[in-house]
């Protein structure tokens, strides 16, 4: 960084006014008997983005804190950080190389879609059962293993979709069986602390699955072949393919954005499955029943929905979503029994960031984490440390969010009976 004083000076200024804005705005809204749920967040973001001027205007008018007031100051704060960084380090790739920036953003979005998709399963389970499944990473791992064995070991050359479907079937059945055998005691009052029991029993499942796979399959990294190669494209002309240029494993758009084949396939599949999932949840009776249980179990039961059956469906579906992500990524990453640990941890961050139990929150949280990781990896000036901090980037965003908005981005303020809403 050429002028670190500029950057850190701006950051210091922003932090100071963010803290002042957060504390005073909340107290002021409380004093005036106004809704304080977003006061700390808006006060801090406005303070960070506009300093005393923005805060003075807010404190004088004390307007209702609408979504617009939530979003624009946050965008302003991010813009100010970016501007300070650009002035402080003008030769950084993130400032001087537009092609690099475009590639990193596209990378972040693609990764974010995959992260968010995996987190969807976790949030689905939480919103219905009220437990955080610590076996989520293991479902992801098993999905990849099943897809690998089906497409590469047992039936090499078979359509990859068969492997993906097999992964979904196996994990759906596994999730349903596990829920019936181990989670049902939570519902009938046999367990004194059902939530803690749920966490511990899924923790046990995680260990069992991981070591079972290690004992039976081994701990050597395996990988499925690319599901398909990109066709060779050169558009608009073969001589000057500025629009799109593909090789077997990579696609280049506008001579700038580079997307690898396995990620592209995984991201597109995730979006398609997400749309199917939304259709299922909003247009089918079972999906509506799931949503009803997530809102109010008792009311749903009175309406003729069997909440216990929905519990089983949610756990099986949640695990299956993780497995689907795994089966799509086994062509991108080397696969091991321990491969689920990092994605599972990231999923926990995403669901808390997005708001426990919120599907849009999980998806948006995934994209935010993906973008923050890509930005951090690409822009931190010290190359030796940029990638070492990958796990920390998401944690920083999570910490800030929890500090200023403890319910997460889309989390409900109060939880009564149910644990979230889609």
């Amino acid at each position: 960084m050429e002028f670190p004083n500029i950057f850190w000076g701006v950051i210091g200024w922003m932090i100071f006014w963010a803290v002042v804005g957060s504390v005073i705005t909340r107290r002021l809204y409380l004093h005036k008997d106004l809704d304080t749920s977003n006061a700390a967040f808006v006060g801090s973001m406005l303070g960070a983005a506009m300093g005393p001027i923005g805060l003075a205007a807010l404190w004088l008018k004390t307007p209702e804190l609408t979504n617009r007031l939530l979003v624009w100051p946050a965008v302003g704060a991010v813009t100010l950080i970016a501007a300070a960084f650009a002035f402080a380090d003008p030769s950084n790739n993130c400032v001087a190389n537009g092609s690099f920036v475009a590639s990193q953003i596209s990378n972040g979005i693609i990764l974010g879609i995959i992260y968010g998709f995996m987190a969807l399963g976790l949030t689905l389970i939480f919103s219905i059962l009220g437990i955080v499944s610590f076996a989520h990473g293991e479902f992801y791992m098993i999905g990849g293993m099943v897809a690998y064995f089906v497409t590469t070991v047992w039936f090499p050359g078979i359509y990859p979709i068969v492997g993906i479907l097999a992964a979904c079937l196996v994990t759906f059945a596994l999730g349903a069986a596990f829920e019936r055998m181990f989670l049902t005691p939570m519902y009938d009052g046999k367990i004194e602390r059902p939530v803690e029991y749920g966490i511990l029993v899924t923790f046990g499942l995680a260990f069992t699955l991981q070591y079972f796979i290690q004992a039976t399959v081994g701990a050597n990294p395996v990988k499925a072949r690319r599901f398909f190669d990109f066709p060779r494209l050169r558009l608009p002309t073969a001589e000057d393919p500025w629009l799109i240029k593909t090789s077997r494993g990579n696609m280049e758009l506008f001579d700038t954005i580079s997307i690898s084949n396995p990620r592209f396939v995984a991201a597109v599949a995730c979006v398609l499955v997400l749309l199917a999932l939304l259709y299922f949840l909003h247009r089918t009776w079972t999906g509506k029943a799931l949503r009803a249980v997530s809102l109010d179990r008792e009311a749903a039961a009175i309406a003729g929905i069997n909440p216990d059956r929905m519990n089983m469906l949610a756990f099986a579906l949640g695990g299956m979503i993780a497995a689907l992500a795994g089966s799509l990524l086994v062509q991108a990453f080397s696969w091991l029994p321990q491969v689920g640990a990092i994605p599972a941890m990231r999923s926990f961050v995403i669901v808390v960031l997005g708001g426990l139990g919120s599907l849009p929150g999980a998806f948006l949280g995934g994209i935010i984490v993906g973008l923050v990781e890509a930005t951090g990896t690409g822009c931190v000036p010290d190359a030796q440390k940029a990638a070492s901090y990958i796990p920390a980037y998401g944690m920083i965003v999570l910490t800030l969010t929890l500090l200023l908005r403890p319910t997460g981005l889309f989390g409900r303020r109060f939880s009564g009976g149910a644990h979230g809403k889609f």
């Binding site: 790739n93 190389n97 092609s99 690099f100 590639s103 990193q104 990378n107 972040g108 990764l111 290690q214 081994g218 701990a219 050597n220 990294p221 395996v222 990988k223 072949r225 690319r226 090789s247 494993g249 990579n250 280049e252 580079s258 690898s260 084949n261 396995p262 990620r263 991108a332 990453f333 080397s334 091991l336 029994p337 321990q338 491969v339 640990a341 990092i342 990781e373 890509a374 951090g376 990896t377 690409g378 190359a383 030796q384 440390k385 940029a386 990638a387 070492s388 990958i390 796990p391």
Partner: protein, 414 residues
Amino acid sequence: MRKIIVSVAAIAAVATLSFSGTAALAAKCPIKIGGLAPLSAPGAVGGGEAMRDAMLFAERDINAAGGVLGCDVKVVIADTEGLPEKASAIMEKLITQDGVVAVGGAYHSSVGVASKDVANNRKIPVVFAETWNDTITGDKQKYIFRIAPLSSWASATLWKAALLVPNIKKVAILTENTDYGIPAAEETTRGLKSGGVEAVTFGVDIGTQDYSGIVERIKAGKPDYIIVLATGEAGYNFAQQAADAGIGPQDIPFQAGQVALESKAWWENVPDGNMAFVQRIGTPVNLWNKKALKLNEDYKAKTGKGAIESYALEAYDSISILAQAINEAESTDGAKIVEALENISHEGTLGRIYFPYGTKKDPSADGKGDEWWHQWPDPAMTMIQYQKEGQNSTESPIVWPDAYKTGPAIYVKK
């Protein structure tokens, strides 16, 4: 009465002496030797399994040759997971619970660095097989020996081979943040700088899966050569993701991590990994002695692999040299084994192994650094290159150094 007392005392004395004499020779049977290997992620599991198999072959061969001190040898395999915190605990367990009298094996430097103090404090000799970090022997601990090369020697192979790349000006180094990766990257950077080549190092945590951001960053820097200093599946993940992004082994000269020597796993995990350069420690295949050739045949028959890897040879030798030392010491006492190791001349699969510096002669007497303490001075280091898809690492041509060269290097350039 007095006669009886004297007789009983004499019998007791004779019995005690004979028992103690037997104990000195045979100790407790079987004699246990620890074998460290990473058998779970995030360690380099492929390497660990190869080392485990080789150490068990060593156990078999030692016992077939009559064992040690009249006893069979039992190699107690312990999984380090490639993690320093695990390594200390495992070393403690091997010594205190399993009752090993010496320890061999070990793949990751961080494991060596973390576990050596435990062994040294408990006076248990260790012959590290594949841990490179200079400080492992550089701390001049009485009970610590090594038959792997020093990190500084291994790094010299990297930068000297890199300087041969035509028109090389800029190198990107991807290193794991461990006791192996960090010093190796620093030494390689210094060496490259001495040749007028700029190097940028990218550090990653062991177990990292996604490299898309770092790959883009490396790509933007337009390097002429990429060096990977990452063990475990990280080495595979980075290589294939770089290949997908157009900066893989078939796009620019690319030196893969040592995990690439596991040919079957390499081709499965990095299908676009042809043309990769890989550093290989150990005598080239064409110079293998009878012992190495015999072990290779046994290993191939057991594992179904194309050939035995160099770290497996090191692991085999680390156990067999300890067995010889225990025999020569005529004791399982740690200090006596150390004395025997300092005087040893062991004909191993890697060649003649000996330790010229130690308590008898300090490295400084010959103007050498502390890292030469209990260090085998002759491990061979070469650079091979995969030049055909699906090729076995032992069949790939050695492209550096000239003394071992079996074929020319191919430098790809888009």
